[in-house]
Amino acid sequence: MNEIANTAALREPCVPGLFSEEEGARLHGARCNCCNTPYFPRVATCRNPSCDESRIVPCTFGGEGNLWSYSVADFPPPPPHRYDQPFVPYAIGVVDLDSGLRVVGQMVDPAEAMQVGARVRLVIEPIHHGDGKAFTSWKFKLL
């Protein structure tokens, strides 16, 4: 498994277009140039009701942030989630990125290591394997 996971050529995003890892882990989102609201995934128009003019420009988010809260998936979640057998419980973080985006994502580290307020970094990692490929998603890693 680890060998597959570490071979870049066999890594494939679980949903295409949402993120990339070629130049470091990045989420493909947008920002409104008028009210500065960040969005992920991308939106067509600004959704902030107090924004005067929607001026959406594509941008990416990555880097570091703070763990606002977290929970643990102690039972296998229903489809459309997919996971490797046997199921291993994983932590889910709600992270405030320094760039102003609050985003949810799986945590790389075990649940016991979690602490509200911890510093974390966005990474792209496999969430499940199949067809000889490692399907990736964005996750957070404790610093």
Partner: protein
């Protein structure tokens, strides 16, 4: 505006597919039972019903299109009356009540049947099943694997961080709820549980345990509502609808419902619920201090602690102390979910908003038996659902 009253309510006891309570009953059968009971309670016949406002289920009945109100009309007799099928996730029952209320209050109809019923698929509630990258719910499940309990658990974890809430305190909410359900003949679970039993149940999503979240259930509830004018023909002691309100989520909500949102400036986590409740207070002129008891959406014990604080029923961080002092029990100063709540019933999603109206009515009439809130004068009901929907209603005697 006409004044609106609740004339009669009914319910089918909640259960799980295949058990001794609901067995293999269809959603129409469950609804038939609840509607029959509500009409008998009201003393009205089917022919007197002028319109149906039904919660629209995504899971069962309704010819696969969520036309649950049409199923009711077909079942009771095609009198040609208008049917409104309301879709709002778990808030659909509350939405159906709001539309029924609005139709009567606005003078469009004098007597309306409100109904919600559900036969739920097993296990955690899944997404639509369509792999659509434009559906944020699909993306959240596919990319993160974060079903409902994981969402609630992040909120609970943050409360533990903010207020020092203990796992014992979280578990005591369930102990209190299940004690109430002992005397509720409509509850799925009618047996008390001990603190040790709750704490021995496995985590579903740490820090929330199996006994601290509501399972999915099958069940149905119905209410016959009418104008106060018309009610004189049927009863001398109607329960008055002080108000009914609907709201949706605010842009500044503090928790991302899909994948992400801006880091919020404010601390409010369920702006749709708070907004609906605040609207209800404002429109009725009834404040938090006037409420005799509250039925709120406790998908998880966490909500019983957080919601009363968000709505001004008590101070932030005070809920645990009130719980432990017995103040949230039916006999306390701030009774919460005397019915036993979702934790004791399980959630038959679209039935819940109507289920709350039935409990409020029984409480205000003094018919709630062992779970009766002494001298209940005013009751508050609240639901919230997928899509950022919420409802609130205030009933008074």
């Amino acid at each position: 505006m006409q004044e609106v009253v609740v004339l009669g309510v009914g319910m089918h006891r909640f259960g799980k597919t295949g058990d001794a309570i609901v067995g293999e009953k269809s959603v129409t059968e469950l609804c038939r039972h609840a509607v029959d009971m509500a009409m008998k309670d009201a003393g009205v016949s089917w022919k007197q019903v002028q319109a149906v406002s039904a919660a629209s289920s995504r899971f069962s009945g309704g010819k696969g299109w969520g036309l649950n109100g049409n199923d009711i009309v077909e079942d009771f007799g095609c009198t040609g009356i208008p049917v409104y099928n309301l879709s709002a996730g778990c808030a659909a029952g509350g939405n159906a009540f709001n539309i029924g209320y609005s139709l009567v209050a606005g003078g469009i109809h004098d007597l309306v049947l409100v109904v919600g019923g559900e036969v739920m698929p097993k296990g955690m509630i899944q997404t639509s099943g369509v792999e659509d990258a434009n559906d944020p719910e699909y993306l959240r499940q596919r990319c993160v694997g974060m079903p409902g309990p994981a969402f609630w658990a992040t909120l609970a974890r943050r409360r533990i961080f903010d207020y020092g809430t203990t796992e014992e305190q979280m578990a005591k909410v369930t102990v209190k709820a299940r004690k109430c359900s002992e005397s509720n003949p409509f509850a799925r679970f009618q047996k008390a549980v001990s603190l040790d039993e709750v704490l021995a149940s496995p985590y579903v999503s740490n820090p929330l345990r199996l006994f601290e979240i509501c399972p999915v259930s099958n069940g149905a509830a119905a209410a016959v509502i009418c104008s106060k004018e018309m009610a004189r023909r049927f009863t001398s002691k109607p329960i008055t609808v002080a108000t009914s309100a609907v709201a949706t989520i605010g842009f500044d909500d503090a928790l991302p419902r899909s994948l992400a949102g801006p880091v919020p400036s404010g601390p409010s986590f369920h702006t749709e619920a708070k907004s609906a409740v605040m609207k209800a207070f404002e429109r009725s002129g009834i404040g938090p201090r006037d409420i005799s008891f509250t039925e709120l959406q406790d998908n998880t014990c966490y909500y019983e602690l957080a919601f009363p604080e968000e709505w001004g029923l008590c101070e932030p961080g005070e809920a645990e102390r009130l719980l432990e002092a017995g103040e949230t029990a039916p006999t306390g100063r701030m009774p919460i979910n005397p019915s036993g709540g979702f934790v004791s019933f399980g959630e038959a999603t679209t039935a819940m908003g109507v289920f709350q109206i039935a409990e409020l009515t029984w409480q205000l009439r003094g018919q709630a038996g062992g779970r009766q809130v002494p001298d209940a004068k005013v009751g508050l009901a609240q639901t919230n659902g997928l899509g950022g929907n919420a409802t609130a209603a205030i009933l008074k005697r």
